[in-house]
C-alpha cells in the first residue's frame, strides 16, 4: 500500500471514530478521549515521574491494553497524545509496544498516528471550510488568522498542528508559519489572560 493511501485510510478511521463517539466540534477534550478509551477497554495510567522526550506509550500484551501518559501535560498536548495513542490501539495493537516521542516521528506508523490524531481533533475538511468562512483561500493564511481561528473555534489542536496543516494544504505559503511565537501573538491580539494578570498581581 502506498503511504498516501495508508494516511488517507487513517483519516477516514479518525472521521469514523468522531462520528461513532459523537464528536461534533474541533474542541475535543481529554474527557472525550477518556470516554473512547473506556469504550475500547484501554486503561490509562498517568505517569508521575519525569520523562525526557517521551509523552506517551501504548502497551498491549496478555495484561491487556494500557496507555501511559505523562502526567501534567497541558490540555492540548494531552489530548493530542491521547488521540495519537488511540491510533496505536485501533490500528497497531499487535505490536505490543508503541511509544511517542520527538525522535521517532519520521516512522510511517508514527506519522500515521500524528495524522490520525490531527484528523480526530479537527478534520481537514472542517478546517478548510472554517478558513473559507473567514474568507481565507489558498496562500492567504497568516499567523494572525490561525490565532483567530483557534480562538473562535476553541479547537484543542495545537498551533503547531494548525500551522503544519495550513502549510501542507497550501492555505499558507511554505515556511511562513514556522518560528511564530503563538502565545505572544495571541496575547497581542486578545490581551493577557486573566489568570496571568491575577498571578502577576499576587
Amino acid at each position: 500500500m502506498l503511504r498516501t493511501e495508508y494516511y488517507e485510510q487513517l483519516k477516514a478511521l479518525a472521521r469514523e471514530t468522531r462520528s461513532r463517539f459523537n464528536l461534533v466540534s474541533p474542541r475535543v477534550l481529554r474527557s472525550d478521549l477518556r470516554r473512547i478509551y473506556r469504550a475500547e477497554g484501554v486503561r490509562i495510567d498517568l505517569w508521575p515521574h519525569k520523562l525526557g522526550h517521551l509523552r506517551g506509550a501504548y502497551f498491549n500484551d496478555a495484561l491487556g491494553p494500557t496507555v501511559m501518559l505523562m502526567k501534567g501535560l497541558p490540555e492540548d498536548s494531552m489530548v493530542f497524545t491521547m488521540a495519537h495513542e488511540l491510533k496505536h490501539h485501533l490500528v497497531d495493537r499487535d505490536r505490543s509496544l508503541s511509544y511517542c516521542d520527538s525522535s521517532n516521528q519520521s516512522n510511517p506508523i508514527e506519522i500515521g498516528a500524528e495524522i490520525f490524531a490531527a484528523e480526530l481533533i479537527y478534520p481537514d475538511e472542517v478546517f478548510r471550510s472554517d478558513l473559507e468562512e473567514m474568507g481565507i483561500n489558498e496562500g492567504q493564511c497568516t499567523p494572525e488568522i490561525l490565532v483567530r481561528l483557534k480562538h473562535e473555534t476553541r479547537t484543542t489542536l495545537s498551533y503547531a498542528g494548525l500551522a503544519k496543516r495550513a502549510e501542507f494544504m497550501r492555505l499558507a505559503p511554505a515556511c511562513s508559519l514556522s518560528g511564530v511565537r503563538w502565545k505572544k501573538l495571541e496575547e497581542r491580539i486578545y490581551g493577557i489572560p486573566f489568570y496571568k494578570t491575577y498571578r502577576k498581581r499576587k
Binding site: 520523562l51 517521551l54 506509550a57 502497551f59 509496544l97 511509544y99
Partner: protein, 121 residues
C-alpha cells in the same frame, strides 16, 4: 504461584530491602524522608498494618534502587515476559536511556498491578 499472603510478603520485602540498602542499610526515618511519608507509615507498611498502594510501591522501589517486581513473589512466567519487554525496549534505540528506563519501570508497574490485584482477590 505459591500460596503467599501478599500483604505479609510485601511488608517483609520492604523491611529486607531497607535493611540491605547500601552498606549500612537505612533507618525507617531515613526511608520515610526519601519517600516523603511519615516514619509511622513506613513502620506500618513493614508490619503489614497498612497496605501500600501500587504508586507507593513504585516510589519505594525507585528510592531503594530496585525493580518494583523485587517487592513481589517470583512468578514462573515473569522472566520470559520481562525478556519480551526488554527486547522491545532494546529495539527502541532512538529513545533516551532515561525514557527507556521509565518505560521499563512502567512495564514492571503493569506486571506488579496484575500480581497485586490477583492476590488481593
Amino acid at each position: 504461584m505459591p500460596n503467599v499472603n501478599m500483604r505479609e510478603y510485601v511488608a517483609r520485602r520492604i523491611r529486607e530491602l531497607r535493611v540491605a540498602y547500601g552498606k549500612k542499610g537505612l533507618s525507617q526515618e531515613e526511608l520515610a524522608q526519601m519517600v516523603g511519608v511519615s516514619t509511622n507509615t513506613i513502620s506500618r507498611w513493614e508490619t503489614g498494618t497498612y497496605e501500600p498502594t501500587l504508586n507507593d510501591l513504585e516510589l519505594l522501589a525507585r528510592k531503594l534502587g530496585v525493580r518494583m517486581l523485587d517487592l513481589f513473589p517470583k512468578i514462573d512466567q515473569e522472566t520470559s515476559k520481562d525478556q519480551t519487554v526488554d527486547a522491545l525496549l532494546r529495539a527502541a534505540n532512538e529513545l533516551d536511556q532515561s525514557d527507556i528506563d521509565e518505560l521499563r519501570r512502567y512495564a514492571e508497574f503493569r506486571r506488579a498491578r496484575s500480581i497485586y490485584k490477583h492476590k488481593r482477590k
